[in-house]
C-alpha cells in the first residue's frame, strides 16, 4: 500500500529530482521511469511518484492528494499555496529576473508594461517600488515580448541567460534566487510524521554528502 505520495514537477526538474531520490535510497526502476506513466511506485510499493506540471504541484500537495512535492521556488512564490517547506534542495538552481532590451532604460514615470508568466511576483516586485505596471500574462516564449513591442520588460526565470542573450535582452535586476524545494502538506506532516521526517532526513543527508 502506498504510504507516501510525492508530486514531482515535470520538465526541467524531473530528472534531477528522481536522481536525488534514488541517491537518497528510494528505489524506482528505470523501466517504469522511462515509460510515459504519470504515476510510478518504488520497489517496496510504499512510495509513489506522480509527475505533474510544475504549477500543479502545490495544488496536489495543498489538497493532500500528494503528501509531498518537489517544485521550484518560483512556482511557490507565484501560487501562494499554504504549504510547509522544510528543505531547500540544491537542484534546479536559477534566478527570477527583470530583463529588458539591451540598453533600454526603465527609469520613467507612467506605466511600465511587463510581460511575464509570474503576474503575482511581478505585481509584488513593482508594487513595493510604487511603479504602476500593465501586467501582460503570457504562458511561454516571454522573451519575445520586448523585441516585438508587446512590453517594456519581462520577469522570467533564468538558468544560464542564453535565451535572453539570443533574443537581445539583458538582466536589469535579480529579484530572487530560486532552487527546488521539498514541500509538505500540513495534515500529512502531522498524520504521517514518521515517514515524512524519514524522507526529509534521507534527502538532507544526501544533500550534505553532495556538498562535501
Amino acid at each position: 500500500m502506498t504510504s507516501l505520495t510525492i508530486a514531482v514537477a515535470k520538465g526541467r526538474l524531473q530528472t534531477e529530482a528522481v536522481e536525488l531520490l534514488s541517491k537518497a535510497g528510494f528505489d524506482f526502476s528505470n523501466e517504469s521511469l522511462s515509460s510515459r506513466r504519470l504515476a510510478v511506485d518504488d520497489e517496496s510499493g510504499s512510495y509513489r511518484l506522480i509527475f505533474v506540471k510544475p504549477a500543479d504541484v502545490p495544488v496536489y500537495v495543498e489538497h493532500g492528494i500528494a503528501d509531498c512535492g518537489i517544485v521550484g521556488r518560483d512556482v511557490l512564490l507565484e501560487s501562494r499555496a499554504d504549504l510547509l517547506q522544510p528543505l531547500t534542495l540544491d537542484i534546479g538552481a536559477c534566478r527570477i529576473v527583470v530583463a529588458a532590451r539591451n540598453g533600454a532604460s526603465l527609469d520613467r514615470f507612467g506605466m511600465l508594461r511587463v510581460a511575464t508568466k509570474y503576474p503575482r511576483i511581478a505585481a509584488k516586485h513593482f508594487g513595493a517600488r510604487g511603479v504602476a505596471v500593465d501586467l501582460i500574462t503570457l504562458s511561454g516564449s516571454v522573451e519575445l515580448a520586448p523585441a516585438l513591442g508587446l512590453s517594456d520588460c519581462i520577469i522570467d526565470l533564468v538558468e544560464t541567460g542564453r535565451t535572453l542573450q539570443e533574443n537581445g535582452l539583458s538582466i536589469v535586476e535579480v529579484i530572487d534566487e530560486s532552487s527546488a524545494r521539498l514541500v509538505v502538506n500540513r495534515a500529512s506532516y502531522q498524520l504521517k510524521a514518521k515517514i515524512v521526517s524519514g524522507l526529509i532526513k534521507a534527502l538532507n543527508e544526501t544533500l550534505q554528502r553532495n556538498q562535501r
Binding site: 495543498e62 510547509l84 502531522q190
Partner: protein, 399 residues
Amino acid sequence: MDHAQDARATAKLTHNRIQNDLVDMSETLSRIPAGMRYYGGREAQVRRAVEATVISIFAGWSYEEIATPTIDYYSLFEHGMGHSQAHRAFRFSDTDGRMLAIRPDVTSLVARAAATIFAERPRPLRLCYVAPVFRREPQSHAEWRRESNQIGCELIGSNNGVSDMELLAIVYEVLQRLGLNRGCSITLNDVEVFNGIAEQLKLDSAARDEMRELVDTRNTADLERFLAPYAPAEACRDFARLTQLSGKRESLNDARRLLRNARSQAGLDRLEGLWSVIESQQLSDCFEIDLGDVSRLDYYTGLTFRIYVEGAGVRIGSGGRYDGLTASFGKAEPAVGFVFELDALTELLIERAGSILAAESAPDATRVTGRDLSALFTVAREKRALGERVILDFSGVAP
C-alpha cells in the same frame, strides 16, 4: 426562394435567437457562485446528524447555545479577527453609510456578547454555536468554500491556562463520538514560546512577521539565514530548530534546553502542565506538541491547537486562547475556544463507509391514499399523531 420559404426561414432564425437568449438567461440563473453549494440526500442527513451529535456533546459539558447576528458592523470583525482576516468578508454599507459585513467569524460576535449582554452573568461563561460564516475570498486553494459552517465552543472568564484542558477534552470527545479518534492528531503550541524569542532578538513588527512565516512553513535553512544578523551563529541554529520541535513530551525538554528566555519558558511550562493532564487521561496518542505552528499570532495569546484527521488534506478544526479579544469590547477577561468545520467533517464521514452515523435511518413510511381528500388527511393526521412516517399519494383522489 419564395416568400413563404423566406418567412419560414426568418421565423426559424428568430426562434433560434429567442432560444439562445433563453439559454443565456438560464445559464446565469443555473450557475452557482464559486465556493457555494447545496446539500441534499445522504449528505444533508449526515451533516444534520453530525451537527446534532456535536451540539449534544457541547450540551453535555454545560455549554449554552447562542445564536449570533448574520450581519454586523465590519469594524467589529476587524477588531476581533485583525484586518488580514476580516478583509476577506463580504462587505457593504448600511443606510447610514457605516460598513457592514456578513459574519466571517463567530468568535468576535460571542466575545462582544460576553462583554455586553452577558456582562453581569457569573463566570465562567460557557457558550456554543453552530453557524455559517462567509468569506468573499476563500482562505486557501484547498479551503475553497466561501460559505462554511462552524460549530464551536467558547469558555470565557476562567483562569488563564488552567481551563485549556476542558476544551481539549471536548474536542477529543467529538472525535471519539464521530469515530475519528483513530488516526487523528491534535497539535498543541503556545504562542508565547515564539513571542519570547522575537522579544529576545528585539525584532520589529515586520521582521517578526517574516520570522513567523519562516517558522510556520518549517523553512529551517532560510530561517537560519534570516536570523544571522540578530544573534550569534550558535544561537541562530538553536532558534532555527524551533521548526523541527514536534513530538511528545521530549520535544518540550528539547525546547527548554534551546530557548532560555523567561517568556518562552513560561509558555513551555503551560504546555508541560497541559501535557501532564493529557498523559494522566491516557490521551497522548492523539496529541502532539508542535512548536512550529505559529499561524495566527495576531489573534491568540497562549495555547493554540489544530485538529487533523486522516483522509482530510486540511485541518478540520482549530482553536486557542485569546485573552486580548474581549478587552477590545470593554471587559478584559481570559477566553479560550475552538471551532470544527462542519462541512469538512461531513465530507469526511460521507467517505467513511459504515460510519456510526450511517446506521440511523428513518423508519419505514406508510403510503396514505384515499378517494376523497378529507378521508385521506384524517388517516394521515392520525398516523402522524402516533409518530409514524407517512407519504401522501394523491393518485387515487377523485377529480
